[in-house]
């Protein structure tokens, strides 16, 4: 019987690993902690990845929001706003605590009129190869409950996220 758990375990591990490998973006949200880590490997040179966070023009394009203010320096601040048909849909602001090009951004982030509250973000940019890079975002919330609100948000909106992959894994297992 001792073998069967290993067999089952390794089969599960294999499928699990495969699933994780396919995911470019990984979230690590350990139970009971008030922080989470988001990791992503990019098919972009480090400098280009960093530029996506540094230049308002690019932020606007990939985040789909207007950049009203962005001071990339210690004690600088920023303000993002998204409007739809004249109505402000989303506003977020924060203060920058550290800004080291191609390396680190430490900032606060607050989505206005949301229950999540202010969060502290540590963004680490790393070169992997000449053409690839990695971003690690450590996000710290005020409490475990505040993190839960954040995690549930897209969940509650039910963004029609097809969980096909997982379903497939589960089907394979059963």
């Amino acid at each position: 019987m001792g073998r069967s758990i290993q067999q089952t375990g390794s089969r599960y591990e294999k499928i699990y690993k495969q699933l994780k490998m396919e995911q470019k973006t990984k979230i690590n949200a350990e139970e009971g902690k008030q922080e989470l880590t988001i990791t992503r490997e990019f098919d972009l040179p480090l400098a280009l990845l960093f530029k996506a966070y540094e230049e308002p023009e690019f932020i606007e394009q990939w985040m789909g929001t207007k950049v009203l203010k962005l001071e990339n320096k210690k004690h600088g601040s920023y303000l993002f706003e998204t409007s739809h048909q004249g109505n402000v849909m989303f506003r977020a602001n924060g203060t920058i605590h550290e800004f080291i090009p191609n390396q680190t951004i430490i900032r606060t982030f607050e989505m206005e009129n949301a229950e999540i509250g202010v969060q502290l973000e540590f963004l680490e940019f790393e070169k992997l190869t000449e053409q690839t890079s990695r971003l690690t975002m450590q996000v710290i919330y005020r409490s475990v409950e505040h993190r839960a609100v954040q995690l549930k948000m897209p969940f509650a909106y039910g963004l029609n996220m097809a969980h096909d992959q997982l379903q497939q894994v589960m089907t394979n297992l059963i």
Binding site: K24, K26, F58, L151, P154, H163, L173
Partner: protein, 106 residues
């Protein structure tokens, strides 16, 4: 014993995760499950109680034996919980990658 009904609490324990893995392929009796562990049988039985209490395991009576099997719906719920958030970031980062790739072509 006060049962913890929180699924996340349930899967935080390595023995309970191992039990879940065991029953992924087949329904098993408590005895069969326990024989895979060095832990005392009452301990395994407590783990089974917790897993059943939070619906990760389902009990099924077959003759005189009670079999435990995985409740895939509940398992899906756990994984799904973080998945929309992950997907949201994944979409965002895919966009970032596309935008920055395009920027070099201009």
């Amino acid at each position: 014993m006060k049962l913890r009904r929180d699924v996340f609490q349930a899967i935080a324990d390595p023995t309970r995760r191992a039990i879940l893995l065991l029953v992924t392929t087949q329904a098993m009796t408590a005895g069969a499950i326990a024989s895979n562990f060095d832990t005392a049988r009452p301990t395994v039985s407590k783990h089974l109680q917790i897993l059943t209490a939070c619906d990760l395991l389902q009990q099924e009576q077959r003759g005189r034996e009670v079999y435990y099997h995985l409740n895939p719906e509940k398992m899906k719920e756990i994984a799904d919980f973080v998945e929309p958030f992950r997907k949201m970031w994944d979409d965002r980062f895919n966009k970032l990658e596309a935008v920055m790739k395009k920027s070099t072509n201009n």
